[in-house]
Amino acid sequence: MSIEGWDITALGTGRALPVVTAPEPVLSRVGEPVDPTDPQIVALAADLVATMAVSPGCVGLAAPQVGVSVQLFAVDVTGHPKAATLHGAFVLANAVIVEASRWRPGREGCMSVPDLTGDVKRAGRIVVTGELPGSGRKVTITTDAFEARALQHEIDHCNGLLFLDKVSGAHAIYQRKVYL
């Protein structure tokens, strides 16, 4: 499945940026809405894609994770064994979840919290609206399974939330043992 009107190559070539880690305050700030047609935002979108590409096992990256507190993130869960519906690699600005259902627990980690994992309940099916960087085109994405989890995780980042803010209990945080 592809997103109508989306062409990742139109973003141009980005630079791989350093990923910040908690307790960096930018990770806890609500990101500013952006103009998706702003060339600086298009360049940042390309940087997110480039940074994701050089980070082993990375399936999503939000602007606050590279130190920029705005509503922009990249996702690509292609090839992940838990993925069902797939939209490939894409970047979304000002994304909002408009529908969420089929809540399920799952254990997740984060490049910005490298030493911990935690159990978080996420919707297994969501509808997200947002804007494509470059064209500014408004899109509605319906997805499920792992892509849905990844989108929720990245949208949380854009709103200043880490998985640590959503763990399912006092005993649901673990020392991470497997590094990619």
């Binding site: 399936v59 999503g60 990245e154 673990y174 043992k177």
Partner: protein
């Protein structure tokens, strides 16, 4: 790890549950400049149990003395001791979740964890609960590569002997 905050101390506190135990202990430690690092604090039946590591310039004896008023009424048992800056042992394993449940009987934890240990598995977290006749054990276990298949068979065998259900599954997290 020893750092600028001082040496590591292990503190345990246990006693009948009441409101304010955590606040009382944490305040006493903060007054001493002892920095609370990793801890678990939970209620076990009617008792509240705290196990924690803190870093402090103060000695174990000084910290114990500062916590003494808390145990004056004979309700809370407090211990403090120095612990080394050792890194936790790591068997290079992958994380698994082990759950066991069934009718309570003597020796479930002993039998199950012995099988895990004999396979080179390292328990990193474990809780048990007894509710009515039902006994439950949930553990996080690091298992060396190649071990889980054989261990599953051995656990099934022990579970049969104990008359309990056992389930071993990967606890790997997805990095997003």
């Amino acid at each position: 790890m020893t750092d600028v905050h001082g040496a590591e101390l292990a503190v345990t506190v246990i006693g009948p549950d009441r409101t304010g135990i955590v606040a009382d202990v944490a305040e006493a430690l903060a007054r001493l400049g002892a920095n609370l690092t990793d801890s678990t604090m939970t209620r076990l039946r009617g008792h509240f149990a705290m196990t924690l590591i803190c870093t402090a310039q103060a000695s174990a004896t000084e910290v114990e003395a500062a916590l003494l008023p808390l145990s004056a009424d004979g309700q809370l048992l407090v211990t403090v001791r120095d612990v080394g800056p050792d890194e936790p042992p790591h068997n290079g394993g992958l994380p698994y979740l082990l759950s066991v449940h069934g009718a309570d009987r003597l020796g479930i934890v002993a039998a199950v964890t012995r099988v895990v240990a004999d396979a080179g598995g390292n328990v990193t977290d474990l809780s048990t609960r007894l509710v009515g006749p039902l006994y439950l054990l949930v553990a996080e276990v690091d298992l060396p590569e190649g071990v889980p298949g054989e261990l599953t068979k051995r656990l099934a065998h022990v579970a049969d002997e104990l008359g309990v259900e056992v389930n071993l599954r990967p606890a790997g997290a997805d990095v997003l």
